[in-house]
Structures are given as structure tokens and as C-alpha cells.
């Protein structure tokens, strides 16, 4: 495990970009600490806007600034950003089509036992279903850097969810990356595991565990959930026996639902979806929660082994 959370990497990318682009601005809702943004706030005070604990206003202000040529990156805990500001995200960002990048920090169950109030367990469902919004869930530091290096230069709205804690590296610095395409981490012919965000490290490890049991698993990192890389899903459906999805999100409306829809419309194979339940999760540390609900590496591998 390295020492850096993905949000720390985002801060670094934005600091570098802000030095060259005065229109790049960062807004937060009393969340500069939660978002690891103190370095940005300190070094670029003229490009940093504190909105206070007011998520609706946070998004509207960003949209207004974007309409005047600014390139706002909005930071707030994913749980609040993706629920309290839904109408502003829908109207001011998606519908008005403003160049606002919405960064949900400490997403999923990052906050462990703080309860459902602080857990973003349905943000993919909410935002991916909103017209005009792209959705990204980076897996590790290298991919986070690549995604944000691209986003600081493009003009389209997006929602990006990252976790709170340091994550294991999935890639090295020379890995192959396309912003709107999935990355196949490991090829395989028996089964496909599709994952996103910080569960990808578990999907990758599950692929290794299955290899030891002579099961050939294809492991796909679907860091961009919208637009979805349908071609990779259809190819997996055709070339492997079934698909397992693993995500830090409720099963309704998340990665599993999106993958199942692509499969159902194109080439039918079984899709097993692993994720959070339709109820408050157990109070525990994130890794314990993943294990409890069966989508850590061992859980994913076990599910596949028993389904073969």
C-alpha cells in the first residue's frame, strides 16, 4: 500500500494545472480538509472559493462561474454532493451543459462507521442517470492522475468519485489509458470480472487467486461508467462464460446494473453483481465492509469458484 489517497493526487494535478491556467478554480463546502485541498487553497487563494456548508449553492456558483469561462472543480463529500445538490447537478450542470467537474470525495463507505448519512452508496445511480453527466471512478493513484490530467483540459461536465484512504497501486506509470475506455488488467477466457474505483485492486487480486485454481479470469477496470465501454462488455460476454461485477455501491443502478443492461441488450450471459445491500451497511472499517458483503478479493474469487 502506498501512502497516498487518490484525492491527494488530484490536489497535485490541480496545483500544476492552476499555475498555468488562471481560469481553473476550485470550490469547496467547508471541505478543504476532507478533500486534501489545503495545498491548493494555500498556494492559489485567488482561484479557491469557499462556499460553506451549502452544497446546492456550491454547484450553482460553480455553474455560474463556468458560464463565464472558468473551469471549476467542485469538491464535497460524495454523500452530500450526490444527494443534496441533485437538482443543481441536473439543471445547472447537466442541462445547462456547463463545464463543471464535480468531485465526490470519501465516496462509498470510506467513512466506515459514520453511518449512512456519510456514505455515498447510490451516487453512481443518481448521477449516471442524469442527462449530460459523465461518471468516473478511478482505481489507483496512476489512473487518478491520468483522469484529472485529461479533465483539466476538456470542456464537458463530469462527476468523479474517489475514496478517503490510501489505495494499493493497480498500475505502474506506463500503463495504457484512454479516458472513456475501460482498461483490461488481465486477459482471461473463463470468466470476466468488471470493477471500478477502489474495488479494482480486489478484482485484480481475485484474478490472481483464481489463476492459482486454474481459472482464467479476465479483469476489467471500468473507471468510466458513463459513457460506458459497451464494446468491452459485449466482447467479454461473447468470449467468457459469465461476468461478475464488484463495486462499492448498492446493486441497484450501479456498475452491475449498467453492465447487465448492456449484456441484456446485446449478448446474453449470466451477470453476477456484487455490491452493497439495499439497507444500511454494517458499522465497520471499509475493508471489513467489503469482506462482509463478499466483494473483497477472496469474496470475488470464492463467488466465481462456486459458480463455475
Amino acid at each position: 500500500m502506498n501512502k497516498f489517497s487518490n484525492k491527494m493526487i488530484i490536489n497535485d494535478v490541480l496545483c500544476r494545472a492552476a499555475a498555468a491556467d488562471k481560469n481553473l478554480v476550485v470550490l469547496c463546502s467547508d471541505s478543504r480538509g476532507s478533500a486534501s485541498l489545503e495545498p491548493f487553497a494555500k498556494n492559489f487563494p485567488a482561484q479557491f472559493v469557499e462556499v460553506g456548508i451549502a452544497e446546492q449553492n456550491l454547484v450553482s456558483i460553480a455553474a455560474g462561474m463556468a458560464a463565464c469561462g472558468k473551469r471549476p472543480f467542485v469538491f464535497s463529500p460524495a454523500s452530500f454532493l450526490s444527494t443534496r445538490a441533485v437538482d443543481q447537478i441536473k439543471v445547472d450542470v447537466g442541462y445547462s451543459h456547463t463545464n463543471v467537474k464535480l468531485v465526490g470525495v470519501s465516496g462509498g463507505v470510506s467513512y466506515g462507521d459514520l453511518g449512512l448519512t456519510h456514505q455515498a452508496v447510490n451516487d453512481i445511480a443518481t448521477i449516471a442517470s442524469t442527462p449530460g453527466l459523465r461518471v468516473f471512478l478511478p482505481s489507483d493513484n496512476f489512473q487518478t492522475e491520468k483522469i484529472f490530467q485529461a479533465l483539466v483540459h476538456d470542456d464537458e461536465p463530469a462527476y468523479i468519485r474517489v475514496g478517503r484512504n490510501p489505495v494499493a497501486d493497480v498500475y505502474d506509470k506506463n500503463f495504457s489509458f484512454e479516458l472513456h475506455k475501460s482498461t483490461t488488467i488481465q486477459d482471461g477466457s473463463d470468466v470476466t470480472i468488471i470493477s471500478c474505483g477502489e474495488i479494482v485492486q480486489h478484482a485484480k487480486a481475485a484474478g490472481e487467486l483464481l489463476k492459482a485454481k486454474k481459472i482464467s479470469a479476465r479483469v476489467i477496470d471500468m473507471h468510466c461508467l458513463k459513457p460506458i465501454d459497451a464494446a468491452a462488455i459485449i466482447k467479454a460476454a461473447k468470449e467468457t462464460k459469465f461476468i461478475v461485477t464488484a463495486e462499492e455501491h448498492v446493486k441497484i443502478g450501479g456498475l452491475g446494473s449498467i453492465v447487465a443492461q448492456v449484456v441484456a441488450e446485446n449478448f446474453l450471459v449470466k451477470v453476477i453483481s456484487l455490491g452493497l445491500p439495499d439497507s444500511p451497511v454494517i458499522p465497520a472499517a471499509p475493508e471489513k465492509i467489503f469482506k462482509h458483503y463478499g466483494f473483497d478479493a477472496e469474496g470475488i474469487a470464492e463467488k466465481i469458484y462456486s459458480s463455475m
Binding site: 478554480v25 456558483i61 455560474g64 439543471v91
Partner: protein, 272 residues
């Protein structure tokens, strides 16, 4: 140009649009027409020619359901051909029943209430950051200020001392279900905004000279944003529509259509 007369003339365009489309919010349109006319003909630096310039003034109709009045003004100012008004609310037309920025002259999509002031704060902040002198104007309905997001934006507007932001509350005392006081009390608007740190100007909002004085004064204020509480009459200009809740979005029948045009003609002719 006689802007008092202009406001009555443009109301006739609104009547035509709504009568033809069988859709619209005529009472709300008439309530704020003097505000729009004053801003677009005398106060704002925004024209069809400069609409893409960074330094233009910005306008947001936060009470987006009054879009017919905005369409009438924009067409008359040349942002798009007046003939386009015939396409209002027709199948696949871009002239839908709320503002969209697909239409020349419109900055932001609105319709869901309580968004405009936050958007305006963002625009005014962007202007300050860049040292630009443009102003941002936002028109809200009085029923709209029940939205909590309005007060989030009001807080930020004074916190950031946005003296380049001028907001209106179209205080016509009526909303779709009844009087504002029956639905959710809005009394003491002036004191509410003052307590949020705004410069407050209270005027009779269908008196275009009062609107003019208020905006002229607001432009001279520094260090805080201004809100103009425009005490208006819903349906102003057609006597049988004035202060009648039903005319929030009633569609005139044939008789009412002709009567409305006749009265607007008469009132327009009386303008000196």
C-alpha cells in the same frame, strides 16, 4: 423610446404567444414586464451584437416560468426574429416553456426554482476574479424565495461583497395555490434581505421609472449586493387578470384574448 408604452406593446406579444400555444404563465409574465423592459432597453450592456463578448452584462430569469415575457423582449431587441415567437411551445421547437441557453440571448437553463441567485453569485464572483466590470441581474419570483437555496446564495452574495450583483424579487403576492401569505408567509422581505447583508431597495415594480431609479441607484452601491423588492401586480396591464390567482397560468379564451389585446392597446395609447 417610450418604455412604458413598450411594456404594454410587448404584453400583446405575450398574449398572442400564449393564446396561440394554449400554454404559458400570463400573470407572471405581466408582473415583471417593466423590470425586463427597463433592464434590456436602458440598463444592461447586452445586445445581439455583443452577446458572446466576455464583458457583457448577464441576465438570469430565475422564475423561468415567465419565459414568454423574456422571449417577447429578446425578439423585440433583435436576439432572434420576431416571427420565431410563433414557434413558442410548438412540437420540437427550441422555444420551450422555460428558458434554455440554446436560444440566443439566454444565458442559463432555468425553470426549477431557487437556482438563479446561486448562478448569479457564481457569475459575479467570476467577474470579480477577472477584474471585469460586467454586472449580473437575477429576477426571482416571490413564491420562489421559499426555496432554501435562495438563502444559501444570499449568504454568499453578501459574504463576497458582490456589488456587481443586482437581484429582483417580483413581489406580486400570488403563487399557484393562493396568496403567498396563505401558502408560506413571505412578509417583511425587505428586513429579511437586510439581515442577510444586502442593500435593499423597495419600489412599485410596475412603475418603470421607479425600476429605473432603483437600478441606477443599485449600480452606485459598493461593497454589497442589491436586491430590489419590486412590489408588482400579477397580471398587470389587463384589468380582469390583475391580482387574480387563476391567471397564474390560465389560457385566454377567444373573448378574453380580444378583450386583453383591446385593453393593452388602450393602455399603450394612453402612455405619454
Amino acid at each position: 423610446m417610450n418604455l412604458k408604452r413598450k411594456a404594454f406593446e410587448l404584453r400583446k406579444d405575450v398574449v398572442e404567444m400564449i393564446y396561440r400555444a394554449k400554454n404559458g404563465h400570463i400573470g407572471s409574465d405581466f408582473s415583471l414586464m417593466e423590470i425586463l423592459v427597463e433592464l434590456y432597453y436602458r440598463q444592461m450592456n447586452v445586445t445581439p451584437e455583443n452577446f458572446r463578448d466576455d464583458d457583457r452584462d448577464r441576465f438570469i430569469l430565475s422564475k423561468g416560468h415567465a419565459v414568454e415575457s423574456l422571449y417577447a423582449v429578446l425578439a423585440d431587441r433583435g436576439f432572434f426574429p420576431k416571427d420565431d415567437l410563433k414557434n413558442f411551445s410548438t412540437h420540437s421547437s427550441k422555444y420551450i416553456s422555460h428558458p434554455t441557453n440554446k436560444i440566443n440571448g439566454i444565458e442559463m437553463n432555468t425553470g426549477s426554482l431557487g437556482h438563479g441567485l446561486g448562478l448569479g453569485v457564481g457569475m459575479a464572483l467570476a467577474a470579480k476574479m477577472d477584474g471585469k466590470n460586467f454586472r449580473v441581474y437575477v429576477v426571482m419570483g416571490d413564491g420562489e424565495v421559499a426555496e432554501g437555496s435562495v438563502w444559501e446564495a444570499a449568504t454568499a452574495g453578501s459574504h463576497y461583497k458582490l456589488d456587481n450583483l443586482i437581484a429582483f424579487v417580483d413581489r406580486n403576492h400570488l403563487q399557484i395555490s393562493g396568496t403567498t401569505e396563505e401558502v408560506m408567509s413571505l412578509k417583511s422581505q425587505e428586513r429579511r434581505w437586510e439581515s442577510f447583508g444586502w442593500n435593499v431597495i423597495s419600489i412599485p415594480g410596475n412603475d418603470i421609472e421607479a425600476v429605473s431609479c432603483a437600478v441606477t441607484l443599485a449600480k452606485k452601491i459598493s461593497g454589497k449586493p442589491t436586491v430590489i423588492i419590486a412590489h408588482t401586480i400579477k397580471g398587470f396591464g389587463v384589468s380582469f387578470m390583475e391580482n387574480q390567482i387563476v391567471w397564474h397560468h390560465r389560457i385566454p379564451n377567444d373573448e378574453e384574448y380580444f378583450a386583453a389585446l383591446k385593453e393593452l392597446d388602450e393602455r399603450s395609447a394612453r402612455c405619454e
